[in-house]
Amino acid sequence: MIVGERKPIREILELLGDNTTVLVVGCGSCVTVCLSGGEREARELASILRIRGQSAREVTVERQCEKEFLLPLEKEIEPVQAVVSLACGIGVQAMSEMFSSHRVFPGLNTTFMGMPVEQGLWEEYCSGCGECVVHKYGGVCPVTRCAKSLFNGPCGGSQAGLCEVKPDRDCAWQLIYDRLKSQNRVEELLQVQPPKDWSFSRSGGHRKMSREDMLL
């Protein structure tokens, strides 16, 4: 899922500036699950704005990243001066595209693709590099979970199984080594992995996917 973190309320207030009639739009998908931009958070933010004397309403759609779900918002948006989207960066852009005469402000920062690892804690697991290779690494992504995206083994700073860059995190290469050892596959790590083809990643420029068989 996509994980996001609500912007500080002070920053949202600064973004809104003199716009006093506001619609807060939550998203019922990823950011609901990570407790940052769903129905509950939309209601809380609108409530806080009202407590501060602004005229705010809230609405939450099932998925802000699909325009079909945004169509019914037209009437809600029409009278307001500004929209705060609590969706990920995709939702904010979808809203901006759909309601292009309105200012749509991002109410959260999209942080990463990851998963909840325990109650109230999320971790990044995927960078969307466009060419998945996790099977070579015991199912642990070195691109994302190693701070230096190393493909051929740990750096020289891993200690007690923890990352030297973020010492509250596991060293991805310790995880990879342990997983492969438990599968009796450690010798596979001796293979020198050639440089990655990053052209499938963001480095290759803006990405698109098309399915000829699904086009209308």
């Binding site: 309320i9 809380e44 409530s47 407590i51 501060r52």
Partner: protein, 124 residues
């Protein structure tokens, strides 16, 4: 200044009523409501109340370790802290205040109401 007091039927509600019968800080107008357990009070309700003219919400319930429904008071404490954090972030002076009592205790309620009078006080 207006305070909305939400009390647990088993502890906080009777305690608040008893406190008010014994006389209360004159600056305060206290609106008392009873609930079956503080665990039913959600953040949304707290915020909705604060959208009105109340400056404070007093949540009065069973002591943390002897909540009739086990975790109700703990939930209330966590939610109050979340709402207070939001209010802090938004630089709003309103606050949620907590008091954990048994039905016959009045002093923790009196102390909590007294704290409401000093606008600078924060929930601990």
């Amino acid at each position: 200044m207006k305070v909305v007091a939400i009390g647990c039927d088993k502890s906080g509600y009777p305690a608040v009523l008893r406190t008010l019968e014994g006389g209360c800080t004159p600056q305060l107008e206290v609106d008392v409501r009873g609930v079956s357990c503080l665990g039913v009070v959600r953040e949304s309700l707290l915020l909705e109340i604060l959208e009105g003219d109340a400056s404070y919400i007093l949540l009065a319930g069973c002591p943390l370790d002897s909540c009739h429904n086990l975790e109700g008071s703990r939930f209330a404490k966590a939610r109050a802290e979340r709402v207070n954090a939001l209010l802090d972030e938004a630089e709003v002076d309103k606050r949620v205040v907590l008091a954990f009592v048994t039905a016959d205790k009045t002093s923790p309620i009196r102390d909590a109401l007294a704290r409401c009078v000093d606008e600078k006080d924060r929930v601990t």
